[in-house]
């Protein structure tokens, strides 16, 4: 789905991001239909909230500590934080193979923003 190419600069380039990036764009940005259409609006239930994951800050801190503690071990091939997180949240979200861990982390971050009250995306009522 996402065709990536490695350019000379070591920058990964892709026409489309993973699920987390897509969520970030199309759920929080774009023209809101309610602002334009009043009469013929069809209220559709959105279930996207379920795809997002909570990552509480304390957990985050503990994982940083864990990762730091492991620093001198990483040469022996210890797991990095990404794998650690991926393991914890495996199955909690749908994702492509490679972008999965990043997606999980990003989705978690977005959820965290929501918990802080930045944006609450929930069911839309029938108009």
């Amino acid at each position: 789905m996402t065709i990536s190419q490695q350019s000379g600069g070591g920058v990964q380039k892709a026409p489309q991001g993973g699920l987390a990036e897509v969520l970030d764009l199309i759920l929080d940005k774009g023209l809101v239909i309610d602002a334009f259409v009043k009469v013929s609006l069809v209220g559709i239930e959105l279930i996207t909230i379920d795809a997002r994951i909570v990552v509480a800050s304390v957990d985050t801190y503990l994982k940083f500590a864990e990762a730091t503690n492991r620093l001198d071990l990483h040469q022996k091939g210890g797991k990095d934080l990404g794998e650690f997180m991926g393991g914890l949240t495996e199955g909690a979200t749908e994702g492509g193979a490679k972008g999965k861990t990043k997606g999980v982390l990003d989705a978690g971050k977005e959820k965290w923003d929501e918990v802080r009250g930045e944006r609450q995306q929930s069911k839309r009522e029938k108009a």
Partner: protein, 268 residues
């Protein structure tokens, strides 16, 4: 991947017109695009044209909740493909009205001034998203080495059981988290300094995730794209090993939509 097939199997009684975005009339929808799944029937992408404007739509069943991975990716993929060719005003995910007539009569016609003006402003521009992730080991090593307090905490924890070191570990993690926030600010600024001169608009966004380094959106002139991408490559080179950059796009201009002011009677 794990899209629920149950909902699509049930017979859909109510249908609606799902709106992806608004484009100049007369554009051709690129081939091979998959619309949001619609029951057993093969849904098709179509254009509802009104004057100089058109809306990209497909049928959806109004009784199926939207938001599977496939739904979300379809919305984005359709807009992305169109954005490669013409300016497009993207709708937020989940825009459904009763039928195509409503798209023309209630969406396009009454608001055509705004839509035309917005399309005009976006013509000849492309949006890009730049994301960067820290190489965690490299970043953590630098942070630990540069802060004696963090070093002490780390030594204090070494060899102590998880329970006994719980609060120390939280403290250590918090210190690192703060140090990374500081780094993020510096790196976001460095990115702006390096790239904003190649863009007509730049927006710094929050870098998501533990390893998130930078996240920015850029509106770039179509004929300045090569210079912009070159500058991104240069930054990627300068940061090699420390930050892994990903350039996504061109995408629909989600972040740079000209402001819409609802008419007073619409403020319910």
């Amino acid at each position: 991947m794990t899209t629920t097939e149950d909902s699509t199997k049930s017979r859909s009684t109510t249908r609606g017109s799902y709106i992806y975005g608004i484009v100049p009339a007369g554009m051709r929808i690129p081939d091979g695009l998959e619309p949001i799944p619609h029951g057993d029937e093969d849904g098709e992408l179509g254009l509802v044209t009104e004057g100089e404007l058109a809306a990209v739509v497909s049928d959806v069943s109004a009784d199926r909740p939207l938001g599977t991975r496939r739904d979300l990716m379809a919305h984005e993929a359709v807009l992305n493909a169109i954005a490669q060719e013409v300016p497009v005003l993207p709708m937020r995910f989940g825009a459904v009205v009763t039928d195509d007539d409503a798209v023309a009569d209630e969406l396009l016609k009454p608001h055509q001034d705004y839509f035309l003006r917005a399309l005009d402003q976006l013509r000849g521009h492309l949006e890009f998203r730049l994301r960067g992730d820290y190489n965690q080991d490299v970043i953590l090593t630098r942070i630990v080495e540069s802060d004696p307090r963090i070093q002490q905490l780390r030594e204090k924890i070494a060899g102590v059981s998880e329970d006994a070191s719980y609060y120390d570990r939280i403290q250590l993690g918090e210190s690192i988290s703060k140090a990374m926030d500081q780094l993020r600010q510096e790196d976001a600024q460095a990115t702006v300094d390096a790239l904003s001169k190649f863009a007509v608009a730049t927006e710094v966004k929050e870098a998501g995730g533990e390893n998130g380094a930078v996240h920015l959106a850029f509106l770039v002139k179509t004929d300045g794209r090569d210079d912009f991408e070159q500058a991104v490559d240069d930054l990627g080179n300068a940061w090699a090993g420390r930050v892994e950059l990903r350039l996504i796009g061109p995408t629909a201009a989600f972040d740079f939509l000209p402001e819409f002011e609802a008419p007073p009677e619409a403020q319910a």
